[in-house]
Amino acid sequence: MEQQFKELIDRHNGILYKIARSYAPEQEDMRDLYQEMLVQVWRALPDFRGESQASTWLYRIALNTALSYQQKQRRQQTVLRGDEHFPAVIDDGIGAAQARQQRIDLLYRCISRLEKDERAIILLYLDEKSYEDMATILGISVNLVGVKIHRIKKKLQQLLLENEEWVNVWQEE
């Protein structure tokens, strides 16, 4: 079981990271949420029969955990300023890598300004999940997924374009 769990997390750790970081931008909160997701996955694993794809199953657990996760009150006010605490990917000294890192940080910052349900949808969209998969994970119709994605994408792009830092990073490259 332990081996199976490790293999699963090794393969899909990106899902947990992206969801945790989007729902808990502060590093300490993110670690709590990431851990909570691990706890829930570990507990649910004995009942996983493989009827759905492992990634679909993992997305459900991670999103359900994130949506009901309560951030600590004292940190909520600084929620949008957390990115600087995250360890950047080792910089190879090239400006382009720095710009990419900055863009990712800003993207997270803007995602964290979306509503919780919107974050779930945009995360699945960015991870290139099909509409059918998204509908299966979220439990809503494929049509509704399509309508929502269209609106949320526009909202996210608007948030990014309103961000001066984003425009600068974009132009620098």
Partner: protein, 202 residues
């Protein structure tokens, strides 16, 4: 602006974060959950075990001290089955809750948390009067009132009942306030997410 291509750069950060934790992943996964649902689950389990212990003690008492043990045991057995049902119901709903599609899971969480609040209020509202009235009459008997005649004294009931109702009302009122401020807030939040997820904003 291709957001997906920017997002792909994220994989390296995810891998890097995971590598920092990889040695303690199993330890983290085995830690106690801090979610509200799991706290509710733990409280329910404690309540259930405590209820079971009290019922078994009452059954042993009935067996030893009454002339009609079968009747009392029957009453206790009915109480046990009736008492177990709400716990079983909550337990069943909470199982696999995180593995369900998001909308369904939100719905289930709301039902479970609302039921838990009702359960606590019901428990407080039922047990407090029982505890208070028992304490009141035990005190009266200790003070010299005749047993069991004291139970038929309207004067005693005239003092005990309004006080009991007042105290219980106050405690239930504040318990409700507290539950609404803690779990109730989460229910509202989950309800809002659910509503926004199942309908498209106009």
């Amino acid at each position: 602006m291709d957001l997906r291509s920017i997002w792909k750069d994220n994989e390296a950060a995810a891998g890097s974060y995971y590598r920092q934790l990889s040695d303690e992943v199993m330890a983290l996964a085995r830690r106690r959950s801090r979610s509200v649902l799991d706290k509710v689950k733990r409280i329910i389990l404690i309540e259930f075990v405590a209820g079971l212990v009290i019922t078994v003690a009452a059954a042993i008492g009935a067996w030893n001290y009454t002339s009609q043990p079968v009747f009392f045991l029957l009453v206790i057995a009915v109480a046990l089955v009736a008492g177990c049902y709400p716990y079983y119901w909550l337990w069943r709903r909470m199982r696999h809750i995180h593995e369900k599609p998001v909308l369904e899971a939100l719905d289930e969480q709301i039902v479970v948390l609302q039921s838990y609040i009702s359960h606590v209020l019901w428990l407080v509202g039922a047990l407090l009067p029982l505890g208070y009235i028992s304490g009141f009459f035990i005190g009266a008997v200790e003070g010299g009132a005749p047993w069991p005649g004291v139970l038929l004294s309207w004067k005693m009931w005239a003092i005990a009942a309004p006080l009991g109702v007042g105290i219980c009302w106050l405690i239930v009122f504040f318990t409700k306030k507290y539950m609404n401020a803690t779990i109730g807030r989460q229910i509202t939040e989950l309800g809002r997410i659910k509503l926004e997820l199942e309908h498209e904003v106009q």
